[in-house]
């Protein structure tokens, strides 16, 4: 079975470490916040100017002056700090964020990522994504492995305008956890019940598969 949105978030959460400062992108990455292990401390960075993002507010707590990068109302965690956009991206560009999780339309074997624009169809802008992928060393891309029509999104060359060049090393799809190195995809784990053959079929870029690919554990 392909992973659900929640399972994708759960698997990403397993990569969190105690003391990490983490930036979570819009969509599935945001859900990762629901699965932070209770025995570790993680601080969430929201690029509009908040380090230490808390839960969504109750009705009584709603504050129009306190939103996340997805423009949703949020609260602050204990020990939070607030800053302006230039300081926020100094943190990001300067490599101070330990883990960045974001979505994508396509990734390729050279670590390129396309996530912000489909010419003629979808032009919303890159927001902070270009800064995030350029600034972070440790990035996990979460995405579906292929389109509804079975067209692979893990390619030998991205076809859409790039968000970043040569910056992605880890991709978690609904079918597989994949590492990118030396111009190839490496299959690290497969979703429970998903066969290696199915993953190979839906991966257009060169995929290296070992003899025994473990299933993800939840």
């Amino acid at each position: 079975m392909a992973l659900s949105r929640e399972q994708l978030a759960q698997r990403v959460a397993q990569e969190l470490q105690d003391g990490y400062y983490v930036n979570l992108g819009i969509g599935i990455p945001t859900l990762v916040a629901n699965y932070i292990p209770e025995d570790i401390e993680v601080m969430l960075q929201s690029e509009n100017g908040l380090l230490g993002m808390g839960l969504f507010p109750t009705e009584e707590e709603i504050d129009a002056d306190l939103i996340n990068a997805g423009k949703q109302t949020v609260t602050m965690a204990t020990g939070a700090s607030l800053f302006d956009s230039a300081s926020s991206f100094a943190m990001i560009r300067g490599g101070h964020v330990d883990l960045t999780v974001l979505g994508a339309f396509e990734v390729d074997v050279n670590g390129n990522i396309a996530s912000y624009m489909i010419p003629g169809k979808l032009i919303k802008g890159m927001g902070g994504a270009m800064d995030l992928v350029a600034g972070a060393d440790n990035i996990i891309v979460t995405m579906t492995h292929a389109s509804k029509h079975g067209v692979s999104k893990l390619l030998s060359n991205c076809t859409l305008p790039l968000t970043g060049k040569g910056c992605i090393k880890k991709v978690l799809t609904d079918l597989a956890f994949i590492e990118i190195k030396d111009g190839k995809f490496y299959l690290l784990e497969r979703a429970p019940g998903v066969s290696v053959e199915e993953i190979i079929k839906l991966t257009e870029g060169e995929l290296i598969v070992s003899d025994n690919v473990p299933e993800m554990q939840f």
Partner: protein, 233 residues
């Protein structure tokens, strides 16, 4: 008006001197921390041919989006332009020139503009459409592109509190692009929720010193919320 008192008495006075074909830098992220009444004044004035520098362009009926129906904006430099149907229509019809700019680069362009730095190198956007036509240099085995600073004829800013000298305090994530915008305008106009007397703000807690502020006005704000997300108590 004397000395360092920046307070003006009307929105008309606040935006006096704004004429067609000027560049305006606006603070705000989404609808958070936007100078909503200064934007309304620009709509009322009917100023045209505006080059607008801002992270987003509001929504159809609030924030900077209200400048779209009368085609007041000629060009926009922004990082995110979704969630606005009329914007998308004008962009697709090429009635509006859009320069998509990464959010951190946009913030730094404003910061640099206000700080007298004409350009800077950044790794953001290398190998992407953003890099087209830009100078590329290698530092420590990594490629960087040259991005130019931005200044505006006007900067419009929303802060929480100010003293009459224009010392500003922002509140929570409504700070966002406002402090950088404040530094990058030839004329910086700030609207706030409360104006106090000089000496009433703790100098250690001032986010933007009054030297950057030319005009100051106290307003009332709707503070519309774009995505109201709640948890059960």
């Amino acid at each position: 008006m004397a000395g360092f008192d920046k307070v003006v008495s009307s929105y008309e006075e606040a935006m006096a001197g704004l004429t067609d074909n000027m560049t305006i830098i606006a603070g705000g992220f989404g609808l958070c921390g936007i100078p909503e009444n200064l934007i309304k004044e620009i709509k009322r004035k009917g100023t045209k041919g505006i080059t607008l520098v801002t992270n987003n362009c509001g929504i159809d009926d609030f924030g900077l989006g209200i400048l779209l129906p009368d085609r007041q904006i000629k060009k926009i430099v922004a990082s995110y332009v979704g969630d606005n149907a009329e914007f998308e229509r004008q962009m697709m019809a090429e009635e509006l020139e859009v320069v998509l700019t990464p959010q951190g680069t946009l913030a730094e362009k404003m910061r640099a503009g206000g700080a007298g730095i004409p350009a800077f190198y950044t790794a953001t956007g290398v190998g992407t459409p953003v890099a087209e036509g830009k100078d590329v240099r290698t530092f420590n085995d990594r490629e960087y592109i040259l991005e130019e600073a931005i200044t505006g004829d006007f900067a419009i800013v929303k802060a929480w509190k100010a003293d009459r000298y224009g010392n500003l305090v922002f509140r929570k994530t409504a700070r966002n692009f406002n402090p950088m915008a404040a530094t990058a305008g030839k004329i910086t106009v700030v609207e706030v929720e409360e104006i106090v007397e000089p000496g009433e703000l703790d100098p250690d807690q001032i986010h933007t010193p009054g030297i950057y502020v030319n005009r100051l006005i106290q307003g009332t704000f709707e503070k519309r919320i774009e995505h109201r997300t709640v948890r059960k108590a």
